[in-house]
């Protein structure tokens, strides 16, 4: 490939160029900033107090909606409780400033803190339940929150609400804006930028991976639970800022301002605008809040109806939200499949690997399974399975469908807990280790259906995780660096199945694993690609000392590249040996036996 030649030459430029913002978010952030800035500044500068206030409130709601969008669009969590978090912050701010005379700045900080605490409480169920269960738990919280405030009126003064005198309101700093307007505008743009940054960052990628496939996340050493809590924390922070800003803008807070309808509005704004888009929430807030409440004020009785009809109509005609659907149209218009995008061989720096091979020369067992058993619904998927994989060795694992291969891979990578038997990684007992721990300890794997993430670029898919330190790199940093420009511009959605497989392998290799478990890596690859893959695997195992377990149906490939082959059936070893030792009998057993055990793959 083209990258290969110059990769070796420029190998000194090790670190990859840092891109703060994804290409598509850059455009959206620009548009968003212009729209928010213009709608805020123009009315204020021209002295339209009403429209100034309308868009300042819209911006506050926007901050909350963007925060929810980070939770919804990036981390895949549903929350109907954002209105309550917003309210908690606003109310705490007002209580501090209005009842206890705390300075407004400090009071707002207290409000944000209250939002974080409340958000943390709300995120606890997310560790247990997902999807609509979470939606209803958060709805319940949002319904109960104002009621509880009122129930404790002697402390909260919730029945009549709290007035807060805020110094400096109304005294213009510039362009008709007082400090509150400046703060709101600043934070609104900051929220958009923060979303764009998170979306472009490793953290954002990890969130999306954890949302799309918790197993893939674990196999990459990412904890989905941690990602959820982090997302709730970030969104509570943003929503808290929004709630705190509400107080100086209005100078008054009462629980009536945070009905369940507010939480629903935030959620609608995100979904109707287009979740995970940067400007989606702007469209959502403008369409669902500003339009029915402020633009169409003449049609008093029809305010609710307009709101409902807009939301419904957009979901019918723009199923992924207004901006989301437009983005899909643009993608369909402009994107062309680019094959082949991903190729492993050019990324492997042979000289570097050769240097490694001296240290890793001794063949030692890196992975060992003894007497593993596991059954599903009374049928043995693993029935006393044993296996040894040495460093620098490719171990072919073959057998008919349902013979237990995938169960074994799952047991090795920690997704399936063995009923009995032992797993040792590098001589250390790892039977009870979590999938994440194994991943961090240098066990990399791929999946039968590649777990790549359609909406991310190729580059983002590769750069999901931090590279483990302390292990020598399998891929050439310089070559990776050179591929960056090309990879950044292509979304995975346009790649073929085979390309996605290779991409998944590249990603695993980037983490410099000591053990590599490959589940049918050759499926979907063209014949030339298969042989190239075989060569790369050989190179990696021989030179870098990686122990490879290769589950593959292309027996020719297995027989060509594997150092050792184990034929499995009914959860046991049927034959094991070098390709030369195994005769036709073993081959035919794999091809035609077709007996199997229950297995969940």
């Amino acid at each position: 490939m083209t990258v290969a030649g110059d990769a070796a030459v420029t190998s000194r430029h090790a670190s990859s160029r840092r891109r703060w913002l994804r290409r598509d978010t850059r455009l959206e952030l620009l548009i968003g900033t212009i729209v928010v800035g213009a709608t805020t500044i123009l009315p204020l500068a021209t002295g339209s107090i009403y429209w100034g206030q309308v868009f300042l409130l819209a911006n506050i709601y926007l901050i909350a909606a963007v925060s929810l969008n980070i939770l919804r669009g990036e981390a895949g969590q549903i929350s109907f409780g954002q209105g309550a978090i917003f309210g908690a912050s606003a109310y705490a701010t007002a209580m501090a400033a209005g009842l206890y005379g705390v300075h407004i700045g400090l009071a707002m900080a207290i409000g944000v803190l209250a939002a974080l605490v409340f958000g943390a409480l709300l995120s606890l169920p997310a560790l247990r339940v997902q999807g609509y269960y979470l939606a209803f738990v958060t709805v319940a919280a949002a319904v109960v929150f104002p009621e509880l405030l009122r129930a404790f009126d002697e402390h909260t003064q919730a029945i009549t609400g709290i007035s807060v005198f805020v110094p400096g309101v109304g005294s213009t700093l510039f362009l008709g804006m007082d400090w509150v307007a400046v703060a709101i505008l600043g934070f609104a743009i900051a929220a958009l930028a923060a979303h764009a940054l998170i979306r472009s960052s490793r953290l954002g990628r990890q969130m999306r991976v954890a949302a799309a496939s918790p197993e893939a996340a674990l196999s990459l050493g990412i904890s989905p639970g941690y990602m959820r809590v982090a997302a709730f924390g970030i969104s509570s922070l943003g929503t808290g800022v929004a709630g705190a800003l509400y107080v100086p803008l209005f100078g008054f807070v009462s629980p009536g301002a945070f009905p369940i309808a507010l939480s629903i509005l935030f959620y609608f704004a995100v979904v109707v605008g287009g979740e995970s888009t940067i400007v989606g929430p702007i469209a959502g807030v403008y369409l669902l809040h500003v339009l029915p409440n402020n633009v169409l004020t003449e049609f008093v009785e029809y305010r609710l109806l307009t709101y409902g009809l807009i939301a419904l109509a957009i979901m019918l005609f723009f199923p992924t939200g207004l901006i989301g659907t437009v983005r899909e149209w643009l993608n369909r218009l402009f994107e062309r499949p680019v094959d082949p995008m991903v190729s492993i061989a050019p990324l492997v720096d042979e000289r570097q690997l050769a240097a490694l091979s001296k240290e890793e020369s001794a063949e030692r067992p890196v992975l060992r399974v003894r007497d593993a058993t596991k059954s599903f619904g009374g049928v043995h998927a693993l029935d006393g399975m044993s296996l040894d994989v040495r460093s620098g060795e490719i171990h072919g694992l073959v057998g008919p469908n349902g013979s237990g291969k995938t169960t074994l891979l799952n047991a090795l990578s920690g997704f399936v807990r063995l009923e009995s038997g032992e797993v040792a990684i590098d001589g250390v007992r790892a039977t009870r280790w979590s999938a994440r721990r194994r991943a961090r300890d240098g066990l990399g794997r791929t999946f039968q259906t590649p777990r790549v993430f359609e909406d991310m670029s190729v580059w983002e898919n590769v750069y999901v995780t931090r590279v483990a330190t302390g292990r020598a790199a399998s891929l050439s940093p310089a070559a990776l660096h050179n591929a960056q420009a090309r990879w950044e511009s292509v979304r995975v959605a346009t790649l073929s199945f085979g390309q996605r497989r290779l991409l998944e392998i590249v990603r695993v290799l980037r983490s410099s694993p000591r053990i590599l478990l490959l589940d049918e890596p050759a499926a979907g690859l063209a014949p030339e690609e298969r042989s190239r893959l075989g060569n790369v695997l050989r190179l990696l195992s021989r030179r870098a000392g990686i122990g490879v377990v290769l589950v593959e149906h292309d027996l020719r490939l297995v027989w060509n590249v594997a150092d050792r082959i184990t034929v499995m059936d009914e959860g046991r070893v049927l034959y094991s040996g070098t390709p030369a030792e195994l005769g036709n009998e073993a081959l035919e057993a794999v091809l035609m036996l077709g007996r199997r055990d229950a297995e969940s793959d």
């Binding site: 049928v379 035919e588 007996r595």
Partner: protein, 235 residues
Amino acid sequence: MLSLTDVHSGYGRASAVRGVDLDVAPGELVLIVGPNGTGKTTLLRTIAGFLKPSQGSIIFDGRSIVRASPEALARRGLRLILAGHRVFPELSVSDNLALAKLSLADRPSYAKRVETVLEMFPILSERLRQPARDLSGGQQQYLALAQAFVSNPRVLLCDEPSLGIASGLVRSILEFLRELASRGVAIVVVEQAVEAALEFADRVVVLRQGVIVAEGPPAEFDRDRLRDLFLGAGR
């Protein structure tokens, strides 16, 4: 009964099935074999209406069915039994059987057909009231076959009937399919247990990378030939 001409099909851009011609007559049991990932399942799902072929024609009963939905085809007598002994776990065995009425044209014959099939699978008649999730994998596969039988299909497509069930039960399943064929049903079976299945087939079709590479009576296929066909020429 069923006639495929130059069928191409697959998920996404890549075609897993690339130009398959196939004719199946009533009472004939066709066995499709081939290495994993060569498009066998894709082919069955395309015939059954779950996938639309990107090219080619499928004629059932003299009419093109490339646009028909799976449910419409089932009601017209073309049924697919999905791989992995898929039954409705929360429904009782008898309720699972009752769902056959969805595609059984001759409703009055239902009781008789149930009686017949329970004689063939006596284990099911012992467990009629139990939810299907309590059955073993093999029994669930029996149930799936029995339900298909009761719906009286004219074409039965069967995807890996032995997948995920104890090896001792494979024969009984194939015997059942043979019995069905003898009653005039056109049957297409995709099966990995090639050797076990060979003796029950009227015709064997070998699929490799989406293309038919060999076709003929079972007697023409011995171990060596199959191995070579599976691995591709030259090994």
